[in-house]
Subunit: 238 residues, 2 copies
């Protein structure tokens, strides 16, 4: 599947950023070839500071030299520019599009902060509290899946192929797997959210799940590195 | 300007919510007739809780009974459903669309919280700090305007009529005017951000600025009401 008139496409990324993974999945689905340029977020380079001076964050897509920032805006851009290549990421129906945008915002505003705060918890008590909060957020996503997939054994796209909202949620899965391995916390619990757990299995088995989703061990390694930096900072400040 | 096949359109709103004002402006620009249903956010009604159970917030657009939530998703929905009526709100060019989406997210994630935290400051010292933070955020919007309007005396749309990002920023203006009257704080300062100050004047003089933007005094009255509730809560807790 080759995309026509791709132009020069570069992606500034970082291997364990779920937001970068989301964009890589969109490009993969559209069959867009691109140069991937890994960024060191500990020492941010000129390219990143030049092209995302506002947030100084990855991902940044450079298309014929023009920067596009913020992962959800990038995925929509990819969907619009390469409309004729691969599947449509957003649904065609305006109401379904609005629902997908609503839940994608929910993922970034509620779901991502919920699981990251479990990772960052400094005591067992705090972690237990954050796990409880994440469970409530995850139950909302279970309801979203029922609404979007319309009762079918399918994806958030309402179809049998992944779409915009699937990428929005699915790009977090390798971190959830890493967290389960590292601290034994299960965010998408088959007992509490069976629909979402089955969806997660389908997503992992999908084309982008297999081809693009990083291995959980890479996320776990990165988490250990961050933890070591934090401990060094605490030690140095004593 | 009449929109074809409008269907049954209701908007659950609250008069001083900038997010509601944003949607009213979009509907106004598209010439869509709708029933406006004011909500009491102190005692949330069944209609709101039923149609936005996740966030329990206004605005909610009900189109033929189907709810659409989150103001930016609603504005895009309005733009897509009534594509043939009135001006396009998002630009046609994918890169310009991505830039407009990027900055609209910035408005909601940074600009709105910046001015609201000035309103909520409890001491003069805290207020001064928040004013300083808001100034930095506002300077970024000045740069955004220069980028989007491309040096012309125009709107964020890059055109001589307001668009998606103009609505995103402009719906906050009556609150900024209220704040200037109430506490003497000027967020969009003609000395620091001359382009944005001139844009704000143009926006107030635009069709939706005149027809839809509420009067600053209504916002000031609402702020006093909130303040009275807060003081009562403090008094009762002593």
């Amino acid at each position: 599947m080759a995309a026509a008139s791709e132009g020069d496409v570069k992606l500034l990324g970082m291997v364990v950023s779920p937001f970068v993974v989301r964009v890589r999945m969109a490009l993969h689905l559209k069959g867009v070839s691109y140069e991937y340029v890994e960024q060191d977020l500990f020492t941010k380079g000129e390219l990143l500071l030049k092209h995302n001076p506002v947030h100084k964050k990855v991902p940044v897509l450079l298309h014929d030299g023009k920067p596009i920032c913020e992962s959800l805006a990038i995925v929509q851009y990819v969907d619009e520019v390469w409309a004729a290549s691969g599947p449509s990421l957003l649904p065609a129906d305006p109401h379904q599009r609005a629902v997908a945008r609503f839940w994608a915002a929910y993922v970034d505003d509620k779901f991502f902060p919920a699981w990251i705060s479990i990772m960052r918890a400094e005591t067992e008590e705090e972690r237990a509290k954050k796990v409880g909060e994440a469970a409530e957020v995850t139950e909302q996503l279970e309801a979203a899946l029922a609404q979007c997939a319309n009762g079918k054994q399918a994806f958030f796209s309402g179809d049998d192929s992944v779409g915009y909202l699937d990428l929005a949620v699915g790009c977090n899965l390798f971190w959830l797997d890493a967290m389960r391995k590292m601290v034994g916390v299960v965010v998408i619990d088959a007992a509490r959210t069976p629909g979402l757990a089955a969806w997660a299995d389908r997503f992992r088995e999908s084309h982008v799940g297999k081809e693009v989703l990083p291995d959980a061990d890479i996320a776990a390694e990165y988490a250990k590195k961050i933890q070591a930096y934090r401990q060094a900072a605490v030690a140095a400040s004593m």
